[in-house]
């Protein structure tokens, strides 16, 4: 783990205030924040594991379990919801067999529920990794996921 993170951590040496950017960079690299990474970050920043964990759990953006290869985010914001976002989510749950916050056993997909992407004009919206899919239907969800 130390070698894996050395490159990511190097620019932040001696910066105790850099906890959040360091956590973001490490998550970007590993996909999540495993226990060993938290330990490594703690000793790098001269803080305790619990202090780092406390900061990380405060923010919704950090994950502590291994994520799937692709992250599916289904919007449940007001606009998407009234346009049938709930049905899109149900379908995705049905296809993948996981609940929001979960990851498939083969680590292919992780599923998240999101409050708003700011793309309300395209409602209902689904985002896979960084690709945005608008005006979703149940059928379209099946088609899109089949491509992965």
């Amino acid at each position: 783990m130390a070698e894996q993170l050395a490159e990511v951590l190097a620019p932040y040496r001696g910066q105790r205030g850099a906890t959040i950017p360091v956590l973001q960079k490490v998550q970007e690299k590993l996909g999540y924040l495993p226990e060993e990474a938290i330990s490594e970050i703690a000793s790098f920043l001269g803080m305790s594991k619990s202090e780092i964990y406390g900061v990380a759990t405060f923010y919704a953006q950090f994950r502590f379990e291994r994520q799937g290869e692709h992250t599916i985010r289904v919007c449940q914001g007001t606009a998407c919801y009234v346009q049938g976002g709930r049905r899109v989510l149900d379908t995705v749950q049905q296809i993948t067999g996981i609940q929001p916050g979960g990851t498939t056993e083969d680590y292919k997909f992780s599923l998240e529920k999101v409050a708003c992407f700011g793309s309300c004009a395209l409602a209902p919206v689904m985002v896979v990794d960084k690709e945005v899919f608008g005006r979703m239907t149940q059928a379209k969800a099946r088609e899109i996921l089949a491509q992965y």
Partner: protein, 919 residues
């Protein structure tokens, strides 16, 4: 702290407060109560619970009094109707997540332990079932604010109760998230074992990934329990015992910090120990040993309860009369055949009578104690440089330093409460330089870590000083006005250029330069050191090097400066002061000086031996050669604590008479001819002198266990048995009176003065306030003396046969040879055996993995222990503790000694490590 005062009006009352106080502090100083939950006097203001709100004229809203500075002319109201409503609303919110059936029950004042309402509500979580019932701050606050009903919906969090950790349980269902435990753990202790996790309604106090406390790095200091206002954190053993009936203040019997502890009693039994808040030593803090282990060793079934005398090779029970008769045969030996080994665990009074017995009755100066093995180079070195071999400054002034150089001290493990001062200094913006071969906990806070090779301290410090001189960073005026012999010293620096120093120490030149600049330019700067400096065959040179460095930069005689040797045992300073040493009378008055001889001959009404005696290491060597034939040994365990154990054991076995006085049948006592059962610190009165020269009271808390007697009483009876006069003391305070008459530095210390807290020597007169900082205007010896130094390598270096360096260390969780701490279950559960720390590089070349059993062999012996593969120890170096009789590391260590101080080289010897089966 400012002494200026300000005037306020609080609740129509005129209040004079100290400038710099908060409104809350000013209000409390006027004995006006404001409800608080997140406030704690040891922590910085937080403003989290919102209960301490007040109204202040010309200020909007309800400011929190704990975070608002008091200013002159302020008009404060603490009890208005609006405040009451506001507080009630806030408290109701807090109580929606805290069981409160009892808190709002109108029958509360009539409630008995088996009241019917225990069965009348389906949720049983309530005050009467809470271990903290009647001691809870939340109860007090609710009572003050007065809540009859909670209209908001109540949530019981249904969190699992953590009961798997040692010493205390955590029930976060009772937590009100005031953050006091988190803040004390992070801000005061610097540990950060716990933190707030998640947020909003999911927020909790906990560890990373909900690990056990031990895995999360907990020191088990118990500060969180003492900070918790509710029953969320409770010590397991006392959980259901309720409040104490009475408490007695005494001094901790473990390390040299001298924490003031309140021993809690119920039915005349000690059942809990709580650190005292109102003192200048530990300010409410303690460590795991002082906080949790005392009752267990004091009441341990293996305590010696009766004298023992050896008959037919076996120790059998005897009466005091028989045992003292047998022990009094010590008097049959000639002056050079007998020795007294006194104890740094015993009180000043115990040590005084022990050395008096040696000198006045046995006629010998062969008197020493374990200071020989820890700080004899300090006594020799600092006395030569400054004139006084003790910590120059006080514990609480370390936290004021702008720079701390911690060299050869693993302070967090060895002096946990002293380490809090380092944390305080760092949090206040001070710089920390750690010089240590091992990756110790302090490295986490350090601005710079110098990982020098064991035994290369002189080279490292001389290298730093050369940079300071070359770059002109020295304090010229201090050196010229207050010191001498600088030119000769400067000449000796010439050899220590960065290349040479780098070769010896393994530390890159730029780090040495950086250290020199940090230390020399951040004033005041304090040097802390411990066994890593002293336990070398050139220990005195190491000490002199630290003294040179402090003088060179003028870091002496001011708050936050100084050279501060951290003394290991509770009363090692006092045992030295009381002359449990071969060359001095009490107060470091040389025995070889005829004037002193005459003074003590008159006082003790006897003739005294003018020849300095043998040191501890020499006493055992001499016993091995059958020159010393009898030893009176008090409260020490040399079989485990002294180097080359096999040699020590043989020496003790060679004696004709060995009298051992202790509280347990130690490995050494098992070899004795007579064993005298002594009382623990809890069963006697007396004084201990801590590391900062502070004389503090030890108070008798309980009656002696079995037939045990206080050490001073045993020694006096023994002396009387030998027909000696001058030992008819009835109480330790009478002994202190004799001490103060003969010891100028203790002249003004009396038991009645000590009732108001400790006094730091020199305290020559009854109206003298004591001396927190030495050498303020003049050094004790007049001028500070620079000593030229050269680098001398350790005596035993690694070679092909013994390729690794062994360095000894110790753990937070055990003390010395474990006589007390190994009796404590919780401590053994945390650390139960020796772990040989070895670097992964060495481990892999030796095919050793974590947890393998390994054999460690030196030229003197072999021990077996479990390996811990870790980068904490550098490549080429293995480290071991000395707490475990099962793997006695001192079988391996080198008895080679420092020529001046006669301290053995515990910190460096050559060893070979081999795998010995697996797991």
């Amino acid at each position: 702290m400012s002494t200026a005062t300000i005037n306020l009006t609080i609740d129509d009352q005129h209040v004079v407060a100290r400038s710099g106080m908060t409104v809350l502090e000013a209000t409390k100083s006027a004995d006006i109560y404001i409800p608080t939950l997140c406030y704690h006097s040891a922590l910085s203001p937080y403003g989290g619970c919102r209960l301490c709100v007040v109204e202040i004229e010309n200020m909007r809203g309800f400011p929190t009094s704990c975070t608002t500075p008091a200013t002159d002319g302020m008009v404060v109201k603490t009890k208005t109707e609006q405040l009451r409503d506001f507080r009630r609303g806030v408290l109701e919110l807090i109580l929606t997540e805290h069981p409160h059936v009892c808190l709002v029950c109108n029958r509360n004042d009539r409630c008995g332990p088996f009241d019917i309402c225990l069965r009348s509500v389906e949720i049983t979580e309530r005050c009467v079932l809470c271990p903290n019932n009647k001691r809870c701050e939340l109860q007090q606050v609710v009572e003050y604010i007065g809540i009859e009903e909670i209209t908001l919906p109540y949530t019981y969090k249904e969190l699992p109760i953590h009961t798997n950790d040692q010493f205390f349980d955590r029930d976060y269902n009772l937590c009100i998230l005031c953050g006091r435990c988190v803040r004390v753990c992070q801000d005061v202790r610097g540990a950060g074992t716990i933190a707030f996790t998640s947020r909003g309604s999911l927020a909790l106090v906990g560890t990373a990934f909900d690990q056990s406390l031990q895995d999360a790095g907990c020191q088990f200091c118990g500060a969180c329990i003492d900070a918790c206002p509710t029953g969320a954190l409770m010590e397991k053993k006392v959980k259901w015992q309720g409040a104490a009936e009475r408490e007695v203040l005494s001094t901790c019997p473990y390390c040299g910090v001298g924490c003031q502890l309140k021993l809690q009693l119920k039915d005349d039994k000690i059942f809990e120990v709580i650190p005292q808040q109102e003192n200048e030593v530990n300010r409410g803090q303690a460590c795991v040993k002082g906080r949790f282990s005392i009752p267990e060793f004091v009441y341990h079934p293996e305590r010696l309860t009766t004298p023992l005398v050896k008959r037919d090779g076996k120790l059998i029970e005897a009466t005091w009369e028989e045992a003292l008769e047998a022990a009094s045969k010590l008097a049959n030996y000639k002056q050079d055949e007998v020795a007294v080994v006194s104890s740094a665990k015993c009180t000043n009074e115990d040590n005084y009578v022990a050395q008096k017995l040696g000198r006045a009755v046995l006629g010998t100066n062969n008197i020493d104690h374990c200071a020989r093995l820890c700080h004899s180079p300090t006594v020799a070195g600092l006395a030569a440089a400054f004139g006084s071999g003790a910590m120059t400054n006080s514990i609480h002034d370390i936290g004021e330093a702008a720079c701390i150089l911690a060299i050869g001290t693993n302070t967090t493990e060895t002096h946990p409460v002293m380490a809090l001062e380092i944390v305080r200094a760092v949090r206040g913006g001070g710089k920390l330089i750690v010089a240590n071969p091992r990756d110790i906990a302090l490295v986490r806070y350090a601005n710079l870590w110098l990982r020098h090779r064991p035994g290369s301290d002189v080279a490292l410090l001389m290298g730093i000083m050369k940079v300071i001189v070359d770059e002109g960073l020295l304090n010229q005026s201090f050196v010229e006005e207050r010191c001498e012999n600088f030119d000769e010293f400067k000449e000796s620096l010439r050899a220590f250029d960065l290349d040479y120093v780098g070769q010896i120490t393994g530390v890159p030149g730029e780090q040495i330069t950086e250290a020199a600049r940090i230390y020399a330019t951040n004033s005041p700067a304090s040097i802390l050191y411990c066994m890593g400096i002293t336990q070398h065959s050139h220990g005195t040179d190491n000490v002199l090097a630290t003294a040179n460095l402090a003088m060179l930069t003028g870091n002496i005689g001011q708050p936050g400066t100084g050279v501060n040797p951290l003394r290991g045992q509770n009363n090692i300073q006092g045992a030295c002061d009381m002359a449990a040493l071969p060359n001095v009378y009490p107060g470091y008055q040389q025995v070889a000086d005829p004037a002193n001889q005459q003074k003590f001959e008159t006082a003790w009404n006897c003739s005294l031996n003018p020849t300095p005696g043998l040191t501890l290491t020499e006493i055992f060597d001499s016993a091995h050669k059958k020159q010393i034939k009898a030893i009176y040994l008090i409260g020490e365990n040399p079989v485990l604590s002294d180097p080359d154990s096999t040699h020590i054991r043989e020496s003790l076995e060679a004696l004709e008479l060995l009298v051992v006085q202790d509280i347990f049948l130690t490995e050494t006592a098992q070899l004795a001819d007579v064993v005298l059962p002594a009382t623990s610190f809890a069963e006697k009165d007396g004084t201990f002198t801590n590391s900062e020269r502070r004389v503090q009271r030890v108070r008798q808390v309980i009656e002696p266990i079995g037939k045990a007697l206080p050490d001073w009483m045993i020694t006096c009876r023994l002396a009387q048995k030998m027909g000696a006069k001058g030992f008819d003391f009835d109480t330790p305070s009478q002994i202190l009176e004799e001490i103060t008459e003969l010891t100028p530095s203790y002249g003004g210390i009396t038991y009645s003065r000590l009732e108001n807290g400790g006094l730091q020597w020199p305290c020559p007169l009854e109206d003298h306030p004591g001396t927190p900082i030495l050498h303020t205007e003049l050094f004790t010896r007049g001028k500070g003396h620079f000593t030229p130094l050269e680098y001398k390598p350790p005596i035993e270096l690694p070679d092909t046969q013994y390729p690794l360096t062994l360095t000894t260390k110790r753990s937070l969780f055990h003390f010395h040879t474990g006589t007390m701490t190994r009796k404590v279950k919780g401590l053994n559960n945390i650390l139960s055996e020796e772990l040989v720390e070895i670097n992964p590089a060495d481990a892999s070349s030796l095919n050793i993995t974590d947890d393998d059993m390994v054999k460690v062999t030196s030229r003197r012996g072999q021990v077996t222990a479990r390996a811990r593969v870790t980068e904490a120890t550098p490549a080429g170096v293995v480290s071991m503790d000395f707490h475990f009789a099962e793997s006695p590391v001192n079988v391996l260590t080198n008895p080679a000694i420092d020529p001046v101080a006669k301290i053995p080289e515990f910190k460096v010897c050559a060893v070979r490590v081999e795998k010995n089966g697996s797991k």
